[in-house]
Amino acid sequence: MPNLVPKALRKPGKPGEGNGALSPEKLKEAPVDLVGWVDERTGASPFLTGLLFRKVPKGTNWYYTLGSATLFAFLVQAITGVFLAMFYVPSPVEAYGSITHITNDVFLGEFVRGMHKWGATTMIILIFLHMARTFFFGAYKYPRELNWVIGVVLIILTLVMGLTGYLLPFDQRSYWATIVAMNITATGPILGPYLADFLRAGAEFEATTLSRFYALHMMLVPGLIIALIGAHLYLVVKLGTTAPPWVRAESKPKSLREEKV
């Protein structure tokens, strides 16, 4: 089978074997491949090989794909969201019509809108499943406490996306549900009324409420989510993922030598 990994990103050999990422031979030769060319200028390959060939612990199973699955659902939302934003108009007069336009006239418009809508549902389900996995596996314990905290903030932000996105089609359901949701927020103790006024952009639901929800939904909250996913994944790589709690290391000296896979 041909090796599909570009040369610069192959698994580094043992010291002295001579195909290491930045070996002197390599630096002398003019780079012929694109990956090598970029690598010579960025020095990214040690980082990338470290990322690709880091070990995941024994026993890692399909439950460990739920985090990536959540990430993929978020990417679907980000991409379809950009296309929706090209046609959506966040004004109370035009919003509804622009959604009708997307649904009926724009090429693949209804498909993209449907993907954004069902992608939201999928992401919510996946993020809860991922949280349940890390909960039942005890993965929030030392040394991964901070990653759990970041995760809880991510779940809150994801729910805020659901709340702010629901208003945007500006049909009867979204309008009245949002009024009730804002009134619910306003009944909260201490901060409730202020939070509701901030979300509504005033004491009552007004024209600016829609723009405010739109700005939150497509700029502020996704920006925060992207930054926090970055921090989350940095910690995942840095600390490594847990082994399932029922997998134990029997410390027979023999098994310690099974380093090669």
Partner: protein, 233 residues
């Protein structure tokens, strides 16, 4: 966890990691399969179920169903369970805030070094109970109807107002006779004997708590509505 337990964990983890497999291609393979499933399922649902669009938002019309997205049903159902107005802030913001803080701080109060779910009976039971409670409330929310009919016998001059009430979503939160949902708002079957017409009118313009304002109804419909409510004795 004390420092000995921490060290023991890190040592054991080091061994398990050494015995593991490289991320590429093993984990990458699983993740790629998952990628295709996720995108495939989303595209399939979009093709099969589409994205409907209801009638345009209109503060002055009378047909609407104040329903949140399904993943907020459990919050809305909490409002029905905890109905008295004094408890509404507890249900709406208090309980969810407490739940979120408990969730956020979980690693800091659960200091048991054990990770196996069967050897953490308290945590595992609490987790399963939370899942069951949320699933049950979501189910209640999903099966609560949004009725649009009131089957009360009223004098003919109040029929118009009854129509307005039936189609203005009051039934999502109030009960008239045996129509409508039992909460979060109080039953209105005898509201005319409890509140004078002027107070009802004030409530509709400037409602307490979570109820939306109906100030923007056309004046004629608004008056019909107030007359109908005052006639319920």
């Amino acid at each position: 966890m004390d420092s000995a337990a921490k060290e023991a964990y890190l040592r054991e983890y080091e061994v398990l990691k050494k015995k593991g497999k490289p991320f590429f291609p093993y984990a990458v393979f699983k993740d790629s399969v998952m990628f295709m499933i996720v995108v495939g399922v989303i595209a399939f649902m979009s093709l099969m179920l589409g994205a409907e669009q209801g009638p345009k938002a209109d503060p002055t019309t009378t047909t609407y169903v104040p329903r949140p997205e399904w993943y907020f049903f459990f919050l809305f159902e909490l409002l029905r369970v905890l109905k008295p107005p004094e408890l509404v802030p507890v249900a709406t913001i208090g309980l969810p805030t407490v739940a979120m803080v408990l969730l956020l701080l979980l690693p800091f109060y659960d200091r048991n070094p054990e990770r196996h779910p069967l050897r953490r009976p308290v945590a595992t039971t609490a987790g399963i109970m939370t899942i069951i409670a949320m699933a049950f409330l979501t189910y209640l929310g999903a099966s609560a109807g949004s009725p649009t009919e009131i089957e009360l016998d009223v004098a003919p001059q109040y029929e118009a107002g009854k129509q307005v009430a039936a189609q203005s979503g009051c039934l999502a939160c109030h009960q008239f006779g045996h129509n409508g949902n039992d909460g979060p708002g109080p039953e209105l079957t005898h509201i005319g004997s409890e509140l004078p017409a002027a107070a009802i009118e004030r409530t509709l313009r400037n409602p307490p708590g979570i109820m939306p304002s109906f100030e923007n109804l056309p004046p004629e419909k608004f008056n019909d509505l107030v007359e109908f409510l005052s006639s319920l004795r």
